[in-house]
């Protein structure tokens, strides 16, 4: 697209925004989901965010969604359909929608797009994600404190930086409170298969783990933990109901915090492209209630860590951190920069496993 077109688009955009307060037309907000809303995990939490937008803005907005959109050739079409049907702000909520979102955004310069968990922005494409590793730090502190066998089981999906970062964050935190702790990691090659996740949890427990952590979507592992009398941490949504005795805490993805802000800025005309990576501080991650059976001093420590992270006085990746081969990743007193976190694909020192590549 040439500069003239781009300038014209910008003018149109500005004119549209200036006219916005006068018109009674509601702002149409569209969401593209990778799974079904009924997954009780990733997509479910995004939809909770959509419902929060409807609740908060009432007649000012109109929301719609398309669920189960495959991350292949179909994504472009669905995103474009939302743009065609008059949506002003479109959230695409999975990494695989990155290039489709960028492509469609070029065709619809006056529509605003928001892509979750990717790294490509444009004038009308903002990106957002949550610092899930902050939640995993708290999970690691709890796991390291409550374990008696000193073996922590981790159910992982695919060896991508997001998952590796989560394992490292959990491990560093667990080691910081319990130097004897070791990790067993099982890769299940799926984000979502309740049966397989449950089987992985059983395998880990059989091998001595007494705390189960997961980077997959379903509450099956927590149910197994409940059944076997070990601990587990809920992922993405509040999973307390699925195993109230085993459940240490759930780290909940609170997309509503972000969606409310962005819809507000679209309504008042201040929307601009940005790259948001928010955690506890931005309320994009929240914790459920802690299990009452956890010793009070452990809860106190976890809460202290949570608020320190929220204020910015604590970073889960504070040096010295080495990788498994002893190379220095983060120097003493330094904290990891976002670029390094984003591409993290080695285990930190002390994890006794090989990262599948």
């Amino acid at each position: 697209m040439n500069t003239v077109n781009r300038a014209m688009a910008a003018c149109l955009l500005a004119a549209g925004l200036l006219a916005a307060p006068a018109q009674a037309e509601p702002l149409k907000v569209g969401f593209v989901y990778v799974g079904p809303i009924g997954d009780h995990g990733w997509t479910y939490q995004h939809d909770q965010g959509r419902l929060a937008v409807e609740e908060a803005f009432g007649d000012q907005v109109e929301t719609s969604y398309v669920e189960n959109v495959p991350e292949g050739a179909d994504a472009d079409r669905v995103i474009a359909q939302l743009a065609e049907t008059g949506h002003d702000l479109i959230f695409t909520t999975s990494f695989g929608y990155m290039n489709p979102t960028i492509r469609v955004a070029e065709l619809y310069p006056d529509v605003r797009f928001e892509h979750a968990t990717g790294y490509k922005q444009a004038d009308n494409v903002a990106t957002y994600s949550a610092r899930f590793y902050e939640g995993r730090h708290v999970a690691g502190l709890l796991a390291g404190s409550v374990t008696e066998s000193n073996v922590i089981g981790y159910i992982a999906s695919f060896p991508i930086p997001e998952v590796v970062r989560g394992i490292n964050a959990t491990f560093l935190a667990a080691r910081s409170v319990n130097p004897d702790v070791s990790f067993k990691i099982v890769w299940v090659s799926t984000w979502f298969d309740p049966g397989k996740e449950g089987d992985a949890a059983k395998a880990l427990i059989d091998q001595g783990a007494d705390v189960i952590l997961q980077h997959t979507d379903s509450p099956a592992a927590l149910q197994v933990a409940q059944d076997r009398g070990v601990w587990a941490v809920g992922q993405a949504s509040n999973m307390t109901a699925f195993g109230s005795d085993a459940h240490l805490v759930s780290v909940v993805n609170n997309w509503a915090a972000y969606y409310l802000r962005r819809v507000q800025s679209a309504l008042d005309g201040s929307w601009g492209t940005s790259d948001t990576w928010g955690g506890f501080g931005a309320d994009m991650l929240v914790l459920s209630a802690y299990n009452e059976a956890i010793p009070a001093d452990v809860v106190e420590m976890a809460e202290a860590a949570r608020s320190a992270i929220a204020e910015g006085s604590l970073h889960p990746f504070t040096g010295p951190i080495h990788d498994q081969e002893g190379n220095l990743l983060v120097a003493v007193g330094e904290v990891a920069d976002d670029g390094m976190l984003l591409g993290m694909s080695v285990y930190v020192e002390g994890i006794d496993a090989t990262l599948p590549q």
Binding site: L82, G96, N99, Y119
Partner: protein, 352 residues
Amino acid sequence: MALRFEARGAASRAMVLGSPAIAVVLTLAASLVMFASLGTDPVRALQAFFIQPLSSERGVAELMVKATPLVLIALGLSMGFRANVWNIGAEGQLTLGALAGGGLALALYGYESPFLLPLMFVAGIAGGMAWAAIPAFLKTRFNTNEILTSLMLVYVAILLLSYLIHGPWRDPDGFNFPESRLFHDSARVPVLLQGTRLHIGWPIALAITATTWILLARHIIGFQIRVVGLAPAAASFAGFSRTRIIWTTLLAGGGAAGLAGVMEVAGPIGQIVPVISPGYGFTAIIVAFLGRLQPVGVVFAGLLMALTYLGGEYAQITMNLPNAVTGVFQGMLLFFLLASDILIRYRVRFVP
């Protein structure tokens, strides 16, 4: 009073066209009930399913984009199905085609040449054929059931894709996310209609349709396929090689699926991603039967099937109907279409 079906002497020409019409009317009636019971306006819902997707040039182009892989795969499969060769692993063959063709694009990244894309097509077809050759070999050599082997190989292919894309084939500048580089321009399928995604895959699919039609109607192999399917005993009596038919039909199906796969990655997707096909290989089986295993029928069936996907998306966007409704609606439509085919070969008699 009871209902009975009596065989017609010959297939009814009127019902060849009439039975789909009856099916559509029945689906409309049943969906009126379904939408009304869900508390949605049935007229608006049907409009979203069937009219809205076609109300713009872009919509029609998208319909063809979506139908291209379905038609291609179903063409290949229908040849096998006619000869009672049950390749249900087209999904895996598609994946291998995409990996072979796409792998070539990655290996020759930045290499500008008009020959690159045709080479990728050849690689894609070869990849699909290679994957289909496994069940063909096991079937002809060890008499192993091809339904099972081709199905198992789907899972193996998808896991292979997953391994490659989470490991060696990742974009070197992509922060280790599971996606390959975006293919460069000469590895991309050219777009036919500016402003849409309609690419040369659709005319290619139509050309293959015509070729298949001629092959089946006029060529000896078409005759052999029909005889092997209809009367295996007569075929072996006539000296037709069952082995040859198995190899031919499986390779044709695998090649077509492989081509569909490479056209997806080099066309609308433009890179290798963890999910290349949302189950085209399985949906195409339905398309093949909806099209009554006839090349021309397959084209119409592919378009209809594609329309229900697009319509399902519109129903979600404009009416907030959950995706589950699309599944139920598709299922009903397919049930009626498949069931009404009986009217071609049988007439209904009311017996008092």
